[in-house]
Symmetry: C2
Subunit: 164 residues, 2 copies
């Protein structure tokens, strides 16, 4: 079971691919960020994000996709910008026919560390341990995306058990 | 010069096509809304909006497109949902190679009525008069989209003059 986790953004969109093996162990297949330039018009940046994500899906053929939900208490302008990117991400995943799950940030933290208020360092250290990586994944957006994929696989496994 | 105006939304996305003739007069070519069902998963709704918009662009072949900017002082959740739809709209327009303009709601009101604080009825009545329609266009989202297209044509004409 290969899950593609995504941390939406416009300047930097994180993605991470995590495989769960039959024994329940996890391996990191790939992670990176899609970067777009601030001096490029937004429609072009959205197209770049969409098109690069389509290539990633074609290359790695994930079984599932998971996207972090947006939570902004303060800056509505930032929320709108990131949500536009999230829209083209959902479109690309839908067009690929993937099951798409969405998780709130604190649900991801809860899933990874057992604590919804975990800080960034704790999260990245847990991602490193769960994926048996030598170092914490960088940059932050890619590490967040790996956490989304791990949470998705955990959630999917629990859901499978529940339906037995 | 044919402009496609868009009032973004998820449950109901308004669009309107307005042609400006050489004598500066305007005619309404078409207007309607794209509706999606609230009980459908968001990725499917975004795909529906995107795909229907692609068909509209292919059918009417506009020269330009204009999209209303989002302004939400209060409800961030609504802002995020509408912004996701706006993202797939911008993607479809960018893929069609159209020049894309974006206008703030009060700039559109200012352009149509001369007053940035005009109410909905005043706006729709001015749209009706400018397009010499028998009745005010309905529903609201479609009327708003026609206003976006009119404002775009006015802005484009002024911009053309400025560069002479």
């Amino acid at each position: 079971m290969l899950s593609l986790g995504i941390d939406p953004g416009t300047a930097s969109l994180g993605y991470g691919l995590v495989r769960e093996h039959d024994d329940g162990s996890l391996t990191c297949v790939h992670y990176d960020v899609i970067r777009t330039r601030a001096d490029t018009p937004m429609p072009q940046r959205l197209k770049q994000i969409h098109d690069e994500l389509v290539v990633i899906v074609e290359r790695y053929q994930p079984d599932r996709a998971a996207v972090e939900e947006l939570f902004f208490a303060r800056n509505v302008t930032t929320a709108i910008t990131v949500a536009q990117a999230r829209g083209v991400v959902l479109l690309a995943l839908q067009n690929a026919g993937l099951p798409i799950a969405e998780y709130k940030p604190n649900a991801i933290k809860q899933s990874i560390t057992g604590y919804g208020g975990a800080d960034k360092t704790q999260m990245q250290e847990m991602v490193r341990l769960l994926l048996t990586l030598d170092n914490r994944p960088r940059p932050d957006d890619a590490a967040d995306a790996l956490a989304v994929a791990i949470a998705d696989l955990q959630h999917y496994r629990l859901a499978s058990f529940n339906t037995v």
